[in-house]
Symmetry: C2
Subunit: 307 residues, 2 copies
């Protein structure tokens, strides 16, 4: 019988099965873009769901509210069994509708609370503090933060952490916030700006909202003969796989993207099986990774050495 099915080339019609059964074995994954951090999350989700026989519908919002809404509507129409979403900041409406529809949604990269939803996030405020303390501890007093404070919530959190760390130290520290999209190209442009400043007026340390920005900044700086870390310390955020391989191995703050993906997928699978989740909201702690792109401020020696 099984043999006959195979020989005759019969293939089950999933749409019909789905319609009849009332449930599907497809889950949706909505990313913000295809950058390395999100690709790692996708890998984690993919590995976990594939092992469970689930199919994954992947979409990316390109950080655009309209495209996000469209993707969510398409997912709804597909009647996905569940959804893993890295939300764009202005979202909310479409997600509420879906959750109201009763299908489980795991929010990734945005801290949630309450006993309704499911989420996987990273404590980026602490991450920002970690980064800033490292830089401040190195003696830097004029720091730049590169990143789009206006757009991405997790980047805002990092900046909040930086400000918190600065506030704690007392207050003779200057922080310039340089808005930029979260791409290597935007990093390059910011690097150009930095390079164009007179050396005396330049920040001595640059922190970026994401590693991708640091990649661009680094490239522009080196191209203009500005040495990293001797002339400027540079620090990223994310620890994407290539951070350690850059021309100057990047000091950064690690976020466990792959694990975020597997965790989100596991939470979703649990929810799909109807079980109560162990924890509704997982928050990963970021970790400082010191490599070679940061160094002590050259003209301001360590406290207690020189007068």
């Amino acid at each position: 019988m099984e043999d006959a099915i195979r020989t005759l080339g019969f293939v089950r019609h999933e749409a019909a099965r789905h319609l009849r059964a009332g449930y599907s074995s497809t889950v949706g994954l909505l990313l913000l873009d295809w950058s390395p951090a999100f690709t790692d999350i996708a890998r984690g989700v993919d590995d976990t769901t594939a092992a469970r026989g689930l199919t994954v519908l992947i979409s990316n919002s390109t950080r655009d509210t309209t495209r996000e809404e469209t993707s969510l509507r398409l997912f709804s129409e597909q009647r996905v069994a569940g959804l893993i979403v890295v939300p764009h900041d202005t979202s909310g409406e479409g997600l509420h509708r879906i959750r109201a529809g009763g299908i489980p949604v795991v929010i990734v990269d945005r801290a949630e609370t309450g006993d309704q939803g499911l989420s996987v996030a990273v404590d980026d405020i602490t991450g920002g503090e970690l980064a800033a303390r490292h830089i401040i501890g190195l003696g830097h007093r004029h720091i730049a933060f590169v990143g789009d404070e206006a757009a991405a919530l997790p980047v805002q959190d990092r900046l909040t952490g930086v400000l918190k760390a600065i506030a704690e130290t007392g207050g003779d520290i200057r922080l310039d916030v340089l808005p930029a999209d979260l791409t290597a190209e935007a990093g390059r442009e910011t690097g150009e700006q930095l390079a164009a400043m007179p050396p005396g007026k330049r920040p001595t340390a640059v922190m970026t909202g994401v590693d991708l920005l640091a990649v661009g900044v680094l490239q522009a700086l080196l191209q203009h003969g500005i040495r990293v870390p001797q002339d400027i310390s540079l620090m990223g955020y994310d620890d994407i796989p290539f951070a350690r391989q850059l021309s100057v191995p990047l000091t950064t703050v690690r976020r466990p993207h792959y694990d975020m993906g597997t965790t989100a997928a596991e939470m979703l699978v649990t929810a799909l099986s109807g079980q109560a989740p162990q924890t509704r909201h997982v928050v990963f702690q970021p970790e400082l990774v010191v490599r070679e792109s940061t160094a002590e401020h050259p003209t301001r020696p360590r406290r207690g050495r020189n007068p």
Copy 2:
């Protein structure tokens, strides 16, 4: 009316629509893995299909025949409208069944011919020649090729090109083929082997089947104090986005992965609309990208300078 639909929260049931209409608006994308080159292809496919309102089901075979078959079966069950597949080398059967089923399939990264299928590939034999000529032109006479000759067909093509270029020069060139999986980790291991050889017996130039391998080789070499390119020239293949950002910017051969993705998706869209394709088989030409990881062989000066 439209308003009423929106207010009442009505969402079309895609599975029912699909079942009734007999066709779906979902296409499948089957990758070999989530490495940067394939992610770029996915980006291209995603951008193109999203603009057309198509949903993309993404899966990866992890270069495993069984997983490939499973993915293809799942795609069949979903009755995807079309398929874009980067095939694992031992595949064929499952694809034939699907094509026999009449749904259009675009094969990516494998040269196809004939007036039946659709394909997007790169002339990797020429790419291999390009790479080898560059290395040979630099005066290297003992070369290593790192890559899994046994597994991936495109990598075999590159090696074929290398051998061709070597044959053309006459014959005092030694080529060591070092098998390795196509990962940075495998590259690291190969780099360790290279570092362990006595300097005199070491190849003076290393070509890798993919950039990811070169990343690992470079890391291991530098860690053992072997300078690139002064002690060993290193050359990759692919030109992944990070190749230029490595600690030593990588000389490599560029393949236009993103464009391969958009092209494959456009061919699929054309086929779905029932039109005859302009060309069934697109072959991109690779391009040599010389950066800083390759240099002249130190002990063998350029012809015509010293005796």
